[in-house]
Each structure stands twice: as C-alpha cells, then as structure tokens.
Amino acid sequence: MIVKREKLNFWERLYLPALAGGLKVTATHLVNTLFKRGAVTMEYPEQKWTVPEGYRGAPYLVKDQDGATKCVSCQLCEFVCPPKAIKITPPGLAGQTADRANAEKMPLEFEINMLRCIFCGFCQEVCPEEAIFLMKDYSLTGTNRAEMIYNKEKLLELGGVHHDQIKKWEHKLDEAKEQEMFPVKD
Amino acid sequence: MQDILFYIFAALTLFFGFLVVVNPFSRNPVTSAMFLVLTIASLAGLFVLLNAFFLAAVQILVYAGAVMVLFLFVIMLMDIKEEERRRFKKFGVAMGLTAVAGLFGIVAKTIAESGVGAGLKPAFEGDTKTLGTALFSSGQFLLPFEIVSILLLVAMVGVILLSKKDLK
C-alpha cells in the first residue's frame, strides 16, 4: 500500500507550532514528575519489584519431595543450551548411582555458567525429568568469573524442592512387575 | 616587548611554514594541514602586533576556522595517503627555482629600496569602522573591492554549475 504524503501547510513547514507542542509535552511531564504524581520508576534496591508467576529467571536444579536429585544426567539440556552455559559431568560407567531407586544415574557435577546463560528456558523445556526450572532470581552478582559458575550443590540448594505428583520412578517399577515381560529382580 | 614578540611570531610563522612542506617526521597530509593552521595563527599574531585586530580576527575566523577545516574535510574524504618521496624531474626543478628566484628578487629589491630604518606608524588603527570606510569610499578601495566581489560571485556560480549533476 502506498500512503500518499500530505503536503505540509505553511505553519507545519515552519516547525514552530510543532516545537511549541513538544515544549508543552515535555514541560507537562517535568511538572508532573516534580510536583504531582512523582516519578513512575522504582528506586530499585530499596523498593523491589514483585516477580510475576511464570517469570523466567535463573535456571536451578530441583529435588523431589523425598529429597532425591531429579536430574538423571541425560545431558539434553547441555545439548540444547544455545550459549553453551551448561556443563554436565556424567558419573561414568562405574560411577555412583542415583540417590533414589530405579534411576540409573545422576550427574557427578552439573555446572551452569550464569555469565553465559541467557535465561531462554530451553533447558526447562527439554528436560524429560522436570529437574531444572527457571526461577525468580534475576539479579545475580559476583566479584569474579569463577563465582558466577554455579555448581550442582549450589544449584540444588537454590532450586529447592519441586513437588512431584507422578513419581514416575515408583510407577516404573510397578509397571515392569505387572508386565512380567522383563525379569525384574528386586 | 613589541620587538621580541615580533621576532617570536615571525620565527614561528616561518618554522611552521617550513613544516608544512618539508616536515622531516611525517609526510602525512593531515599533519601538513595542521601546521598550516599554526602558520595562519602565528600570522594572526603578527597582525595583532600591527594593530590590525580586525584582520587578525578574520584571519583566524576565515582561514584557520573555515578554509582549513574544508581542507581537512577534503583530505579526509578523498583519503589521501601519505605522499611518497618522489623523484623530481629536472625541468620541474629548474622552473621552480626560476620562479623562486624571481620572487626573491622582487622582495629583495623592495626591501633594499625601502631603506630599513625607523618603523612606520600605522596609517590607522585596524578597527572595523576605519576599515569599512576605506573599503567602501569611492576614492579609495571601492573599485578593487567590487571587482573582487564579482570575481568571487563568478567562482561561486561556476562551482554550482560544476556540481549540478544534470543541467537542463
């Protein structure tokens, strides 16, 4: 679509009325801020902002209600992370097993570099175990780079407990028993 | 005091003037242009010593402030690289030397004839009013002034004609 450009009339070409309009708008804002409404901004460290539900802040790891690490070290999140902020060290073949029954493994180390993370939420999206969540923290600070790499312990502590209603691992055991297709030893 | 200042400014003018063309440290056109600015500034100092304040101010305003900025503009826009040391042609050198010798001869003759002695008092203080009257009274400089004006006008029209892309 071609919008026809209106011919400006004399006053419009003179700029002056537009200038006066601009001065008026800015002056009104100035007076309002100073004497009437006050500033619309918040004074950050003293006044804090209420983080809304569903906000995507820093990603942390969670435990289930039994206190077990949910992450199974599948490394999907490491793979999907666009800025490569996640670094997972799997336990290896002879490594320690998971701290709950029927989970094959859990990560030996799980690091997120918060300097790289862009809070995109892909890791939460891709995780098959609901083990990683973007939480409400938005202002992370540290005095050096090393400090900004959060390890597994720290992530779990910050993440807290996620109440798991399905308890997939318990069901998995029952299912296997019922089907009797696989010899289940317990 | 006046004399000392004169020698200082004159020496500076010559020194900077030399650096414009034969700078041993850099053959960068921007550096040359900057030294030309300094030359002009020291010339303005000489004008002040002659009580020609108006000329001094205009010297700075027009030459240092506008013309040289345009020079810089053009140098930068055309991206003139450092000039290479080039070999001079014999003919060019000969012509150049002849021209310099001629000019030098004229200057020397003038100096010799003027009879260096007591300095002259300036005919008038170089303030704007006297200058204006001198320029615009028909007995004095009106005709040259108008001729120069027309010359400038012609130059201006020429530039506009040249820079127009399509002439109708």
Partner: protein, 371 residues
Amino acid sequence: MDWFNHLNPDLQFVLLSAVKVLAVLFLALLPMVAYSVLAERKISAWIQDRVGPNRVALPLLSGIPFLGSFLTRLGIWQPIADGVKSFLKEDFTPDHVRKIYFWLAPAITLIPAFLTVAVIPFGSTLGAQKMVIADLNVGILYSFGIVSLGVYGIVLAGYASNSKYPFLGGIRSSAQMISYEIAMGMSVVSVFMLVGDLNLSKVIEYQAGTTLGFIPNWLVFKQPVAFVIFLVAAFAETNRLPFDLPESETELVGGYNTEYSSMKFALFFMGEYANMIVSSAMMVTLFFGGWTLPFFGLDQRAESAQWLTGLAHIGIFVAKMLVLMVVFIWVRWMLPRFRYDQLMDLGWRRFIPLALANILATAVVLFLLNK
C-alpha cells in the same frame, strides 16, 4: 591592598587579569560545567518521569538531618563522584590510533571554549575592575574565530581514531560546523548594524533602558529573527540534539569519541558543556542585555563603591545564562535528531537566505530612520 597600589600599572594589570582568569575558570566555568552535567541528568530524568541521580552522599554532610538527605536526593554530590570516576577509569589507547592526534584532540576541543570566555562581560564593575577579562574592540569576531577552531578537536578525534564510526563523525562535524558558522555569523551582523560597534560591552550598553516603559531594550525584541537563527546555529555548533550528528549514538556508536575512555572522554564531555555555557553567555550578551536589568536602575555600570550592585550584575548575568542552559537541555529531550540532508538544507537553504534578508531589512529600516 597598599602594596598593590605601589606596583607599576603594567604589573597591576597582569596580576588582576590573572586573578580574573583563574576566578572565572575555576570558580565559575569548571563548576558550572560539572553542574550542568548534573542539571542535564536531572532534567532529563524529570522529563522522562524518572528520579535521576540521587545516591551519592558525602560522609559528613549527608548526616545533616533534613538538608543532608535532601541534597543527596538532588544529586548535589554526583559531579564529584563522576569526576573521581573518570580519573580512576582505565585510560585505554587502542593500538590502531594515530597517537599524537589522539592525545591532542580532547584538549583542542576544550581549550577554545575556555578562551572564548575571555571577551564576555559577565558583570559591570566590581570595585574599580571591569568584569571582563579582555575588553577587545573586536570581541565578537575574536570569539567567533576561537569557536571556529573548536571543530578541529572533533575532526582530529575522528581522524586519529582510525576507525569508521569516529571518522564519519569527524567528517560530519566539519561540514556541519562550517555551514552553521556562516548562518551564525550572518545573524549577528544585523545586531551589530544596530549597535554600531563590535565591542561586547558596547552591545550591552546599547541594550540598557526600556521602550514604552516596560519592554526592555533587549535585542531579542528588536532582532527576533537574528536570535532564532543564532539559537539554532548555537545548537548545531555545540553538537546538541537535534543536531548531534557527529556523535549520534544510534548510528555512529558514539561518533568521534567512540574510541576514547576515561579522562580523555571526560574532556570531550566537558568540552560540550563548556561550549554550551559559552554559547548561552554569548546569547545573553548579544540578545538579552547581558548583566543589565531594566528595573531599579540596574542597567547602569556600578560605581566603584557600589559593591552590591556589582555583585547583583554578576548574579543577573548568571541567572539569565542558567535560563538559557535549561532551554538547551530541555530541547535536547524534546526533539528527535535531524537527518543529515535536512540539517544541511536547513542551514544553507533556509537560515543563510533568511539571515541575508534580515540584514537587508535592517539596513533598509536603519536607512529610513536616519534620513
């Protein structure tokens, strides 16, 4: 003061001038530069419904019950913090720059602004001293000449940085400054046709008194067109929005000062504000009657015994200047940037013909009046 009167007049003159220079520079100009930055930040904040700088507190002074916290909220100490910060920052010189010009450029921007102050009469007389550093009879030409040198700082900064954005900024500024200098110079010609003298003190004397008993004789009322042209040209010469093309952040990163950091950057920054201050002082002198006020007999030179009047004159001058500074700042937060061709069009095809027409009109009126 007895010893002083015994010195020979030349020495007295030199000493007094030195005192004036130092006082104007360190008591007036530099603090004003620092605080106009603060004013800019505060006013921009208010216009944009924000608070502005309100954190920096001095240990003892901010402890004063009510006043202390009020001053802190006003950001009074912010310029100190800014200054300390720019000294402490790393002064980084990129590898690819042309070193000598890179170091010279910030100084070249700042110095002309300081030099121009010399001819501005910022007060009448204090004691027996004229409150102007150098009462030149070609005052205005001098200041135009010096101001026109200010562009070298920017052009050289652009050239020295040896990278594309600063370079574009430098080139833009050289063309812009020259264009608007012409308009500016022509606009004041009509002013001087009325006054008949290039000395700025004479310009102020001309503006004393009132017409019809209440309109001050200020030239802004007699030469409104010249004033508008001068004002707009002043915006262009100081690189302020709407004409800040040499540094337009949205197109050129930071323009000519992209490669600069720390104190060198601060010098550019101070240069901009110093130029603003000088332009406002110039406008006050040329168009708003300088240190005069047409009431209470404040438009006559103070006698040597009238210290109070002398001080009042300086106060009036500073007050008028501050109003113009606020206008400078206000406009910055109101208008979007001009496109480069629009800028050139405005300068060459609108203002220069307008200024010429104004000169002609003034000449005709003067001729008819004098007949």
